[in-house]
């Protein structure tokens, strides 16, 4: 990358102190020039003329450096058009993508507080997203096992908006039933064993095992007649059910989610075939646990990160994030 500077350097390839070398160099770099120019440069190797020439060259080099550095910094725009790289699942409370990228100070405090290590920092291939936090749900989803939106609290700049109070206020994305053909429930199959196999390293909290500490997913075998892992594992559903039983999360009624996020429904198709399938409701916050736990080789259910288009009820979230720090 630094070539963009050095390309310009032959223009000014003289070192102030060198007395003999510059001439030899001039010959090669300015061989097309007229001979009188060469003669001229010979006469001004000393004295005020030489100094002026040095200043001119230094000026040109400085211009080249400015242009070079600025253009390299603008390379950060390049990954923007490619959707795969650009669209990342962001931590809870992330502002809309543009605002999110501009406000993040790239310190990684959200990474440090996450109990399941779901939050990671992006690399240089994501352009201006360098150093910005994202979540790879398939690898490790946010299961809200911190209970208090720790990453939001850790955020210095409000990239993760502090207007959020509760888990169900977040809108990271929205689950979509992406590959119905792969889904075990649709095929009428159950699931027995480890959701993601013995080598999977992701963590998940199981309240009945340990309320405070998430455990490795590969220590929790399932055995279900019709696969409903995505529904079972959904943190929002778990909260919904707890509240229905009157056991409020952390004893706080405000923690209760008002809506269902996902459920298995019996669907009858046109040809009369009846089967179960997961259906996503408006309570979905896009945390990605369903994508993480889905036992099919490729996840049948994934998170769509586009907060703007896929979510009718997200209006209240959008208003919040547009307003930034002001209260709605």
């Amino acid at each position: 990358m630094s070539e963009s500077n050095s390309n310009n350097e032959p223009l000014a390839s003289e070192k102030p102190l060198a007395k003999e070398k510059p001439l030899a160099r001039d010959k090669s770099s300015a061989s097309q020039k007229q001979p009188d120019v060469k003669k001229k440069s010979k006469t001004i190797t000393r004295g005020p003329g030489r100094r002026a020439q040095q200043a001119r060259r230094q000026f040109l080099r400085s211009v080249a450096l400015t242009v070079g550095v600025s253009s390299i910094s603008l390379l950060g725009f390049i990954p923007l058009p490619s959707d795969a790289k650009r669209h990342r699942l962001r931590p809870p409370g992330a502002l809309l993508e543009e605002d999110y990228l501009s406000s993040c100070i790239k310190c990684g405090q959200c990474v440090q507080v996450c109990p399941v290590n779901a939050v990671k920092l992006d690399d240089i291939d994501s352009g201006f997203g360098l150093g910005v936090a994202y979540i790879d749900a398939r690898e490790q989803a946010c299961d809200f096992s911190c209970d208090g939106l720790q990453c939001v609290l850790a955020c210095t700049t409000g990239s993760l908006t502090h207007t959020l109070d509760y888990t169900h206020d977040t809108r990271m994305g929205f689950a979509i039933f992406d590959k119905p053909k792969l889904c075990l429930a649709v095929a009428g199959k159950g699931f027995k064993g480890l959701a993601r196999g013995p080598d999977y390293e992701g963590l998940l909290r199981y309240e009945e095992i340990d309320r405070w500490n998430p455990i490795p997913l590969n220590e929790y075998p399932y055995d279900v007649e019709i696969c409903d892992l995505c529904v079972q594992a959904c943190p929002i559903e778990q909260r919904y059910n707890q509240c229905k039983e009157g056991k409020y999360p952390s004893g706080d009624k405000n923690q209760c989610t008002p809506e269902h996020a996902i459920g298995l429904e019996l669907i009858e198709e046109k040809n009369g075939v009846r089967h179960m399938r997961p259906v996503i409701y408006d309570g979905c916050v896009g945390c990605g646990v369903c994508e993480m736990i889905c036992p099919t080789k490729e996840p049948s259910i994934i998170i769509d990160y586009d907060k703007l288009t896929k979510r009718p009820l997200s209006e209240h979230y959008i208003i919040k994030s547009k307003k930034g720090i002001t209260n709605e």
């Binding site: 550095v69 543009e98 100070i105 790239k106 990684g108 405090q109 201006f128 360098l130 210095t156 502090h162």
Partner: protein, 261 residues
């Protein structure tokens, strides 16, 4: 006041000038008078310099390097050993729960995002006061991780240059001010913190704390440029962080005094 203006002018790239006679104290004038009487050849100066450095134990450099490494290691162990003393990275952090924000990164974020949160203000004010007390651009030499690797690169550069294997192309010192303004404008216009994309300070700090990234290739390219083509080019001619902390340093009471004994 004059001193501040002169310091600012030099920070922004004006060539340092010789003091006028009326600006010199009598002691200094006397010294200049005797200095003029002595004719010293260049070789003698080089010998004097070498002799001085032969006896030097680099006391301050050692202290500086130890501090620099300690601060950066504190970031690292706070996360990896979960000590939680200094959480975050150099761009923004929490020292025992108290917000700190790198002045330049915070400025870029404010310009790009055009909204400022109270936490960020707390962080900025803390760090501002801290470096007013500690001397501003002392940040560069005592904390910045890129400074350390650039110093090593500089040693290599000098070694190579002595043998004619490296060049030192100089640039106008004002170029850093121009680049500073450009990055400020880019942040405002594009809405991205454009400088952070190429800031080796941020990249190195994060790489140390959160593990190596591909972005280190960019830092390596910078170092190669400095080793072979231009001595300490990033710090001297590009880095806006240097200007930001330099401005703080101008306002700081910390300064070098020359005493004539």
């Amino acid at each position: 006041m004059n001193n501040i203006l002169e310091s600012l002018a030099q920070l922004f790239g004006r060539t340092p000038r010789k003091p006028r006679k009326d600006e010199l104290s009598p002691a200094a004038q006397k010294m200049y008078f005797y200095k003029k009487g002595q004719k010293v050849t260049k070789q003698q100066l080089i010998d004097l310099h070498d002799e001085h450095h032969k006896n030097s134990k680099n006391k301050w450099r050692k202290r500086r390097w130890i501090t620099l490494i300690a601060v950066n290691l504190l970031f690292l162990v706070s996360f990896s050993l979960d000590i939680q003393l200094l959480e975050g990275a150099l761009t923004a952090s929490r020292f025992m729960g108290f917000h700190m924000a790198d002045l330049n990164s915070a400025l870029q974020v404010m310009l790009a995002h055009k909204t400022v949160l109270i936490n960020l203000i707390i962080g900025v004010v803390t760090v501002f006061i801290m470096w007013i007390l500690l001397g501003g651009r002392t940040f560069c030499s005592w904390v910045c991780p890129y400074h350390l690797v650039a110093e090593w690169a500089e040693t290599l550069h000098l070694w190579l240059a002595k043998r004619g294997l490296a060049k030192n192309y100089t640039f106008h010192r004002g170029v850093r001010t121009v680049i500073y303004v450009i990055f400020a404008l880019l942040a405002i216009v594009t809405g991205y913190t454009v400088f952070e994309f190429i800031s080796p300070t941020g990249i190195l700090s994060r790489a140390l704390i959160y593990g190596p990234t591909m972005a280190l290739v960019w830092v390596a390219l910078l170092l190669i440029f400095e080793i072979f083509l231009s001595r300490r080019a990033w710090c001297r001619y590009v880095c806006p962080i240097g200007i930001t902390y330099g401005i703080v340093g101008v306002l700081s009471h910390t300064s070098c005094d020359l005493r004539y004994d």
